[in-house]
Point group: C2
Chain length 228, copies 2
DNA sequence: AAATGTGAAGAGGTTCACAGCG
DNA sequence: CGCTGTGAACCTCTTCACATTT
């Protein structure tokens, strides 16, 4: 509508520092993509491939990720490729694992062991050998005290007594929304520094605690918005 | 490293049109955020609020979303706000529901009714009244033929016979990864136009089918990458 | 006075085009 | 020659600053 004076921002350099840089040695670049590469490379490895070009990796990953994008991403984790040849699958998969933290084992605690908790537990137990379920908590007296795949199910009330000795750095929250914030606070107080939240609640966490949220209703509504 | 001739790109205007515009009447703007607004507004409504400013909405939503961001987003769905006052909660929640497709009811089919399928079903049944589970499919003979909340569980082999009459536009895939692509193809062939995929597999779908993927391992590895 | 709506500037991520190197 | 790695261009989304409206 109306014009504005064209030179409002003279030198004035550091407005707000925003010095926050993620811990990782690489940049902030898309972790989700790096994970997709890692998975595709593991598949390729199982299929016997030893060398892979960015184009072929791009094709295997799908999702409309271009080979240029692949190269740019990979250049951020180190110059692994050999010009004219491609990438050594073993070397690259190892490097990506290191960046993603998949070269270590992780112990995690699940709070809320209903269907969803069971599903996640079974999935991790069966498919992801780097992730170990070390603690399970629920408030259902019927299952408290029983074992699940060798892990004792504790009552949520005992969290502060049981959890600190388990050495879990990751907590998975699968409790109803109204209970989520309290559970999160207690997990953090017990030394957990990363949370995966399935409850539809906006968690407020202290700085330094990593959070990922999976929101089923949000995903569905993104779909429905596209169905016109 | 090395300099480059500074003027490589002379006139050469229309390189690639890139005329792709999303279907939605608004722009492409962040659907996930719109959903968060919608949820926060519903909460505010239940709490008796009738008017809400962008700052207060920003605070309720959390997640580091600024009030400027809120205003910008909302300006894309229509000029709902009143200057000096804020937004009428009822009007805005209605408008957002319309944009997100949450003003209609949706029928969906779940394929794979293990723990995860049960969890999703229970969640939707109990918490999301706009989403109705109309079809359930599994290959476990032990549960095929039984009912779940009034819905008959069918064998996956019968998908083509059962699904087309159910009028589902959304399919939820909770089968093991190796089976996911085949299930997706069959769902699409039966008229499903939106898929929510929980299997760790990169689905290849025809144009016009909406897809959201939830990948537990990816989420966990994003967390671990941040734990250094 | 208070809060929205919005051009313009800025930041960040993606694509292009090509130098570099095996 | 083929494919990687990368400045630069491009594009998209976010933030700023302020005119506008109630």
């Amino acid at each position: 509508m109306q014009r504005r004076k064209p030179d409002r921002k003279p030198p004035s350099p550091s407005r707000s520092p925003s010095k926050r840089k993620r811990a990782s040695s690489v940049v902030v670049i898309s972790l989700p993509r790096l994970f997709l590469y890692h998975r595709a490379l593991e598949d390729a490895l199982r299929a016997g491939k030893q060398m892979l070009t960015s184009s072929e990796l791009s094709r295997r990953v799908g999702r409309g990720i271009s080979s240029t994008q692949v190269r740019k991403d990979l250049s951020h984790v180190g110059k692994i490729g050999r010009r004219g040849q491609g990438y050594d699958v073993v070397v690259l998969v190892r490097r990506l694992a290191s960046v993603l933290g998949l070269d270590r084992d992780w112990r995690l605690a699940i709070v809320g062991f209903g269907y969803l908790g069971h599903a996640l537990g079974a999935y991790l137990e069966y498919r992801e050998e780097k992730f170990h379920i070390a603690g399970i908590f629920d408030n259902d007296e019927a299952i408290v005290g029983t074992q699940w795949h060798g892990v004792r199910i504790s009552h949520v009330d005992d969290l502060e007594r049981v959890l600190p000795v388990l050495g879990c750095s990751i907590g998975i929250i699968t409790v109803p929304a109204p209970a989520a914030q309290a559970v999160a606070d207690r997990l953090v107080a017990c030394g957990v520094t990363a949370l995966l939240n399935f409850a539809p609640a906006a968690l407020k966490l202290p700085h330094g605690v990593a959070l990922r949220a999976i929101d089923l209703a949000s995903e569905l509504s993104i779909l429905t918005s596209q169905l016109g």
